[in-house]
Every structure is written in structure tokens, then in C-alpha cells.
């Protein structure tokens, strides 16, 4: 009905297509629009669309007009609803609150970005009082649901602050009526039955790092106190069993793991994925390295070009889909989040691919001393002596002051794709986002220069792999299953 009305009003207008983004891939053209719709077109169909010659008798007319690609058939109500759903984060404040409980760590990972000190380092532990103040600050967020994530360093090296923050957050959530999720990111090396019980009783989900088979994991994640890989697997199994059993009165979440891809990983995608399957994990989050923090100093040893990662990602995606076909349940997390936008027009809460990015307005990083940063990467830049991404302090600054700080506003403006050359016309713009911290660290300005930006190349590689697989009916069905509502 709405389509017919729109058609009447604009029938006299020239039939040129509304704004769309496109990219040629071999003989075909991928077209997308701001509403998040996409279509693969043959050259003759693309030419017809560009020339405004997709009329009612054209075989693709119905499909393209329903997706908002035909000017005199725009259903504004439906398209606007799609845009709103995909960009729902524009209506809320920071949902992710990262508490850095300590900078101490008992691992020395090759790619560590966390600016971690040794396990014996002093004066970098968050006090329980500061932890409670951070929780209070997080509850000032305008977001109706918040996630508090405990990180480090190794957060289990500061157990008293973790306990204080968890208990305080649970009691604040009851009083405030906010939805609260608690999450711990740990290497598990200091996990005990007692700590695990406390975490499960307070519904704290756990996430760890698993970089693949033992030799690769232990090469990336050096642990002088023992075998990091063995400890990781031991506790993954423990939490998986508890999740399966669901002890009375306790809700235990499935544990999850993160994969950080170093140069050593590039030739071993099958072994890495097999390790995840063997460990009983149903998700794998294939994350690229960024030349930030400790990794920057070792970039010539462990780093790689965007194209190398894209090739690794593509091989991994194909291998996961192959496993899916044989009945193995496994999803790649970054792909799932992107697909959620592409297929469901839904905001998956992925802060790295938003417009504007999630810096401060989507997440806040709380340093051990109560200093606030746009994100954890921004905190690492601060640790290196440049406080450009510092937005305040929990004891000194109000929530509104932090949201209006110079760094917050600069990040919002500079990560707005509407104002980014290249991005503003990119076919992947409806689903993508830029990172001002990466741009600042690697290219010297918050805006960066996308033509020579490796992160941009990396995202283009990931989107390219996903859209190529969405073209094939077999893989399309499997990928759609990953994000079924």
C-alpha cells in the first residue's frame, strides 16, 4: 500500500535509481544501500539499474524495488524501520563498561595490547573502593542494559576488586532496574573451584583466549608458570560441564574463547579450527592483530599485511562451512555480527563496526586508578604517555561531562562515515565502521586515510569473503542459519 502511494507521488520524476553503493567483483556487481539491503547483479542488470531502466516488466523489478533500489517504488516506512533497527545504538548510551582491575599479568603474550606489567608489579591494582565507584559510574549510562567486563592484565590477580565490583553491580542492578551482564576475560591460570563457584553464583560469564593447538598457543601466549594451553582447556571443560549440568539455583553460561591471529597462525587455519571443535566450542572469534601496544614493537616478527589476514579469514570461513555441512556446529563470531546487520538489519552490538564508532558513546574503559578512556585501545595509548583518548575520571567528572568531553566528540565526528572520504561511497558502508584510535596510532590522525589504511583493507577483505559466500546458494543458506532469529 505504502509502495503504491509513493509510486503515485513520484511517477513523474525521472526513474534514476536512489543513492546506492556498488562494487564490481569479476563479472558481477554488488549493490547496497543505506537501509542495509544488498543485491548481486549481472552487468546488464546493473547497467539497467544505473540508467533507471528497471521498469515493471524487468525480471528483477519486484526484488529490487522491495529493497529500495527503485526510486519510484520507495516504501519509506519500511525502509526507515530497517535503518532504525540497524542503527538502534544511536538511541542509547554506552553499554559496555570495561573495568581494568589490574595491569599485572602472569603471561607475556607476543601480541599483548593491554600494556600489562609483570605479576609482581606494584600500584597498578584497582582498589575495591575504586571498583565500586566505577560500577556506580557505569550505572549512570543512558543505556537500559549494561555489560560490565572485567579485564586486565589478568583480572584474577586482583580478586578482592572483582568480588567488590560483582557484588556491588548486582545490588545496583536490582535497585536501578537495569539489565546487567557481567563478564570475565581471563587466561584461567589462577582459576580455582572457589573462584569459579563465586562467578557462577553471580552469573558472571567467562571468556578466555585459545590460539589453536598447544605449540601455537604456547608460542603466542608465553606463561612461565606452566602450560597455558593445558590450563585454558582444563577450565573451558570445567565451565562447559557446569553449563551442561546447570547446578540447582545457578545459571551457568557457556564459556567462550577468542582467537588472536599472529603471523604464526596464518598457515594453520585447519588445525586452529579443529582445536576449537575438539574443545567443544561452538563459536570462534577470528580477530586480527593491530599494531598497537606491545604488538607494535614486534610487528616485523608477528604482524602481517591486510591481504594475508583476508586470505586466512577466507580459508577459515570455507573450512568452517565445510564442517557445518558435515554436521559440526561452529560459527565465526565476526561474520555472525556482520551477517546480523546484512541479513537481519539488526545491531549486533559490535562496537568496532559502527557509525559513529563506539568510543565513549558505546563503551568506556575504566583504568585501575579510575581514569576513563574512550575504549581499551585508547587506554593503551594513554599508557604509552599520550592521553588524547582520556575522557575523565570516575571520582572527578560527571557522566554528562565525560559524554561531552573533547575526546568523545572528536571520536564521534571523525568516525562518522558520512564525513569520511572513500567510506561515504563504499559498498560496505552500511555495515562498516572506522577506528579513530587505530587511525591515530598508525596514520597520525583521528580521521586516517582509508586509501592506505590496513584496517580498512582488512574489513574489505572480510566483507568481500562474506558477500562472495552469500552469492552461492549453498553457503548462503548456511550463513543465514548462523543468524537465524
Amino acid at each position: 500500500m505504502a509502495q503504491k502511494k509513493a509510486a503515485k507521488k513520484t511517477s513523474a520524476a525521472a526513474a534514476v535509481p536512489p543513492q546506492l553503493f556498488w562494487r564490481r567483483e569479476g563479472a558481477d556487481f554488488l549493490v547496497t544501500n543505506d537501509f542495509g539491503h544488498y543485491a548481486w547483479l549481472k552487468k546488464k542488470d546493473f547497467d539497467a539499474l544505473a540508467a533507471g531502466k528497471v521498469g515493471e516488466k524487468h525480471p528483477l523489478f519486484a526484488g529490487l524495488s522491495a529493497k529500495g533500489f527503485v526510486r519510484d517504488r520507495l516504501d519509506f516506512d519500511s525502509l526507515a524501520a530497517k535503518w532504525r533497527s540497524k542503527n538502534a545504538y544511536l538511541n542509547t548510551g554506552p553499554g559496555l563498561h570495561i573495568l581494568v582491575l589490574t595491569l599485572k599479568c602472569n603471561h607475556k603474550c607476543l601480541y599483548c595490547q593491554a600494556a600489562a606489567g609483570g605479576a609482581g608489579a606494584r600500584d597498578t591494582d584497582m582498589t575495591p573502593a575504586t571498583a565500586r565507584a566505577c560500577v556506580d559510574f557505569a550505572f549512570k549510562s543512558s543505556n537500559p542494559g549494561i555489560t560490565i567486563e572485567f579485564q586486565g592484565g589478568e583480572p584474577l590477580l586482583n580478586w578482592p576488586a572483582l568480588v567488590a565490583a560483582v557484588k556491588h553491580a548486582r545490588s545496583r542492578a536490582k535497585a536501578a532496574g537495569k539489565e546487567l551482564k557481567l563478564a570475565l576475560v581471563s587466561n584461567f591460570s589462577l582459576m580455582t573451584e572457589e573462584k569459579a563457584r563465586f562467578l557462577m553464583e553471580h552469573e558472571v560469564s567467562v571468556c578466555t583466549s585459545l590460539d589453536g593447538p598447544a605449540d601455537l598457543h604456547n608460542k603466542n601466549r608465553c606463561f612461565s608458570g606452566g602450560n597455558s594451553h593445558a590450563v585454558t582447556l582444563k577450565w573451558l571443560k570445567y565451565f562447559q560441564k557446569k553449563n551442561a549440568d546447570q547446578p540447582a539455583g545457578i545459571r551457568v553460561f557457556k564459556p567462550s574463547a577468542l582467537l588472536t591471529v599472529s603471523r604464526y597462525s596464518l598457515s594453520r587455519h585447519k588445525e586452529i579450527i579443529d582445536e576449537y571443535v575438539k574443545a567443544g566450542l561452538e563459536d570462534i572469534f577470528i580477530r586480527p592483530l593491530a599494531p598497537i601496544g606491545y604488538a607494535r614493537n614486534l610487528w616485523d616478527k608477528i604482524g602481517y599485511e591486510a591481504g594475508d589476514f583476508a586470505a586466512f579469514y577466507l580459508k577459515s570461513l570455507d573450512y568452517i562451512l565445510k564442517l557445518n555441512r558435515s554436521g559440526v556446529v561452529l560459527k565465526e563470531k565476526m561474520a555472525s555480527m556482520m551477517l546480523d546487520k546484512i541479513i537481519n538489519s539488526r545491531d549486533p552490538g559490535y562496537l568496532d563496526a559502527r557509525c559513529p564508532c563506539g568510543a565513549a558513546i558505546g563503551q568506556i574503559a575504566y583504568n585501575y586508578n579510575g581514569d576513563l578512556y574512550t575504549c581499551d585501545e585508547g587506554r593503551m595509548v594513554g599508557w604509552e604517555g599520550d592521553e588524547v583518548f582520556k575522557v575523565g575520571n570516575v571520582f572527578r567528572d560527571s557522566y554528562r561531562k565525560v559524554m561531552a568531553s573533547d575526546a568523545t566528540r572528536a571520536c564521534v565526528v571523525s568516525s562518522n562515515l558520512e564525513a569520511q572520504p572513500d567510506c561515504a561511497r563504499c559498498v560496505y558502508k552500511p555495515y562498516c565502521g572506522v577506528c579513530p584510535v587505530y587511525n591515530y596510532e598508525v596514520q597520525g590522525s583521528l580521521w586516517g586515510d582509508m586509501a592506505s589504511n590496513d584496517r580498512c583493507g582488512l574489513f574489505k577483505g572480510i566483507f568481500g569473503a562474506l558477500f562472495a559466500r552469500l552469492k552461492g546458494p549453498g553457503s548462503e543458506a548456511l550463513l543465514k542459519k548462523w543468524v537465524e532469529k
Partner: protein
Amino acid sequence: MSDKVKKDGGLRLDAAVYSGEALKLAAFVFSDRVSVTLKPAKGGFEVLFKNAAPGFAPGDYLNEALNQQCRLDLAGKNSKAAGMIATKALLSAAGSARKKK
């Protein structure tokens, strides 16, 4: 006037391609690698480089100047949409202000 490399290693740039604003913004981006001096010249600008860090190439500065120029040109076209998105994001994050009674 086309872009020219001067004998002193500086550049003469055409105002039809680069605005002074873009050249200044690019100079800020390179401020930790080279000292850039801009001077108005007939039909454009003279750019002088001093105290360049090893590896600095004037071409990199020009790429950045073009990037900044594209950004400024784009802002002229998209500033309304960009402004609405940024304003919405910042106001939503700040939450509603309590009205004074």
C-alpha cells in the same frame, strides 16, 4: 599552475586542487615527522619542509593534503546528514537532562 618541486625541495601547489585549510590540516598530521611552512604564492601555495625525519617523503604529505581536501569537499555535501547522526549519537549517550523546577 601545476604542482612543481622547487630547487630547495619545497613544493609549489595549485590552489585549484588544494585549499590552504587542507594543507594546514595535513601539516598537523605530519607535525611529528617534519616542520611544514606554508606561504601564499601566485595561483597557489609554496610548501617548505624542514627537519624532516628519516623516511619522510613529500609525496606522503601531498597524499594527506588530498585526503583532507576530499574530506572538506565531502563535508560540504554531507554535513547535514553527518551532523544529524553525530548529534543524535552524542545526545542519546548523554541522556536526558533533568529539568530544573
